[in-house]
């Protein structure tokens, strides 16, 4: 594992290397190096199994993180390759020609995050949503509550039971009362 990490550092300038466990390592490569890196891992390091591709929305950094998780059947180790892409008009190189299963992951990410994979077959087909006309729902700025209030027929709000409030009211009734009265006074002012 150690030698492999050294080779990756040298070849692809891998950063943020985090060996989470003896058999699992995370590292980051540049967007332009990603395809070469996964191909190298597949052909020369034996990481032939694509376990998953997933995306994370770092809205505060204005970036999407893509994680490619690969598994090696021979020495039973995993690597997770991270890469960051810009949030405006996100697009990533498609790896459907390296793994037959990659097209499904890419289709899902296209629909739920809006990250495009040009050239991937059936990437624009519906995955789980049908007739969706809003921003991709797994993005952090998609407000599920607001969407359901606007889309579905108006109903009186649900009975809410917040755990913290419930425990406070049951275990510390006096403190909860004081807190509530302060909040009310602040609201009035």
């Amino acid at each position: 594992m150690k030698e492999m990490i050294d080779r990756i550092k040298q070849k692809f300038n891998a950063k943020d290397i985090n060996q989470q466990k003896a058999t699992l390592v995370f590292f980051t490569v540049e967007k332009k190096d990603l395809e070469g890196c996964v191909l190298y891992m597949k052909e020369f390091e034996g990481y032939g199994n694509l376990t998953m591709i997933t995306a994370i929305d770092w809205i505060e950094k204005n970036q999407f993180q893509l994680t490619y998780h690969l598994h090696n059947y021979t020495n039973r180790t995993d690597v997770s390759i991270r890469t960051y892409i810009e949030r405006e008009k996100p697009s990533m190189v498609s790896i459907h020609n390296l793994w037959a299963g990659a097209r499904v992951f890419q289709r899902e990410i296209k629909e739920l995050f809006g990250i495009d994979f040009p050239g991937c077959p059936r990437v624009n087909d519906n995955f789980v949503l049908e007739g969706w006309d809003n921003i991709p729902p797994m993005r952090r700025d998609f407000d599920t509550k607001k969407y359901s209030e606007e889309t579905y027929f108006p109903r009186p709000g649900r009975y809410k039971k917040d755990n913290v409030q419930f425990m406070e009211e049951n275990l510390y009734p006096v403190e909860a009362e004081v807190k509530k009265s302060i909040a009310d006074t602040v609201k009035k002012k």
Binding site: H69, G101, L129
Partner: protein
């Protein structure tokens, strides 16, 4: 490698040679809410598309807005027949990221719970496999025997289908008094069921002639499609997460992984039968080797204000259908930043089924679908 896919071929629907039909999401043959778009020439499938989305509940999105403990009622609902793998992986991921070590006895109880769930799922899967080829009685036997196991689950955890038993820091309660004896009675019943299934299913001429040679997965497809679990083992790949990446107490248990060679539906069903016998042996081993006393839960911080340090991890476990994975990212707040659930049948039921279905007859497609252990809830999450 030759390209597996042939995306360029087009069929002229107006030629009168082909007929396009939809099967599912409501159809007695399909496994759950999933539909298949089939293009038939006579009785033979020329082209097949899978459609999911009838059961999408947005669990991954919901988890981003909930505290770690509030995610527990959600994760178990990702897979209905075998929810415990989800519970274990979510609990273990939070423990790993927050640096909690669970007590020894809790590890054994978790392994017991996971094996019971595997057993329940595999015998129901065997019943489903038989029913998909018209042997409905076996399906009814299997569901009835699963119910005996659900009784044991109810006694152990308080719930029949969803247990929410494995929580961060261990398990909820200790094993009840005399539980092992009562579970043993159920195991004996299930052993009898499996020997009956062996006679009427695996030696049945109808089942044999239909399942042999159906849906053969060549060994060199395992890596491109990311196939795991019994589906991979049926094609001769010796890979089992319990053996190769031992978690909980599996490194202290004595067992051998069953590997087949043919890679067809019959072989996969046979492996599944052997898996259920293996689960029975493992449950007996766990109950005999388990420490008899000790704590089942460790101290965890106030769960309502529980902040987990920023980090990320990927954890996997062997479920009845293959490798199940949880990728969790935390950002130091009270909420998970992202949880990605990699269901075992995600790779089998979408891309692989579309490929394997070509050339299969319309009547056999359900048997093929069940043999790949398709589970739509874990595909859509």
């Amino acid at each position: 490698m030759k390209p597996i896919w042939n995306d360029t071929q087009e069929y002229d629907l107006k030629s009168g040679k082909y007929v396009k039909i939809w099967q599912g999401p409501q159809h007695p043959g399909v496994t759950g809410n999933m539909s298949l778009e089939l293009l038939l020439e006579g009785d033979e499938i020329k082209w097949l598309k899978t459609h999911v989305g009838y059961l999408h509940r947005g669990f991954e999105k919901l988890m981003e807005r909930r505290k770690f403990i509030n995610c527990f009622p959600i994760v178990c609902r990702i897979c209905v027949p075998e929810p415990d793998t989800n519970e274990y992986l979510f609990a273990a991921a939070t423990e790993e990221l927050s640096g909690i070590e669970i007590p020894e006895r809790a590890k054994w109880i978790r392994a017991l719970n996971l094996e019971m769930a595997r057993l329940a799922a595999t015998i129901m899967g065997l019943g489903g496999q038989a029913a998909s080829f018209g042997l409905g009685t076996i399906g009814q036997w299997a569901v009835a025997h699963r119910d005996f196991l659900l009784d044991s689950f109810e006694e152990l955890t308080g719930g029949r289908i969803y247990h929410m038993y494995m929580i961060p820091g261990g398990v909820r309660y200790d094993i009840p008094e005399g539980f092992a004896g009562r579970l043993e009675k159920t195991l004996v019943k299930i052993e009898k069921l499996i020997s009956d299934i062996d006679k009427v299913m695996f030696n049945n001429a109808v089942f044999k002639s239909r399942a042999k040679g159906l849906g053969i997965i060549p060994k060199d497809w395992i890596e491109p499609f990311g196939i795991t679990g019994t589906t991979a083992r049926g094609s001769g790949v010796n890979y089992d997460v319990r053996k190769d990446h031992p978690y909980l107490v599996y490194d202290r248990l004595d067992f051998e992984v069953n590997v087949g060679t043919d890679g067809d539906v019959y072989e996969r069903s046979l492996i599944r039968k052997e898996e259920s016998l293996l689960s029975i042996r493992l449950i007996r081993q766990i109950l005999s080797k388990m420490p008899k006393t000790g704590p089942v839960r460790t101290f965890i911080p106030d769960i309502l204000h529980w902040k987990i340090p920023a980090g990320e991890t990927y954890l996997k476990a062997e479920s009845g259908r293959g490798e199940y994975g949880y990728y969790m990212v935390t950002d130091g707040s009270e909420y998970p930043r992202r949880v990605h659930v990699k269901g075992a049948s995600y790779t089998h039921a979408m891309a692989l089924l579309e490929k394997l279905g070509e050339g299969v007859t319309n009547a056999d497609i359900f048997g093929l679908m069940v043999s790949l252990q398709t589970c739509p809830p874990e595909i859509e999450r």
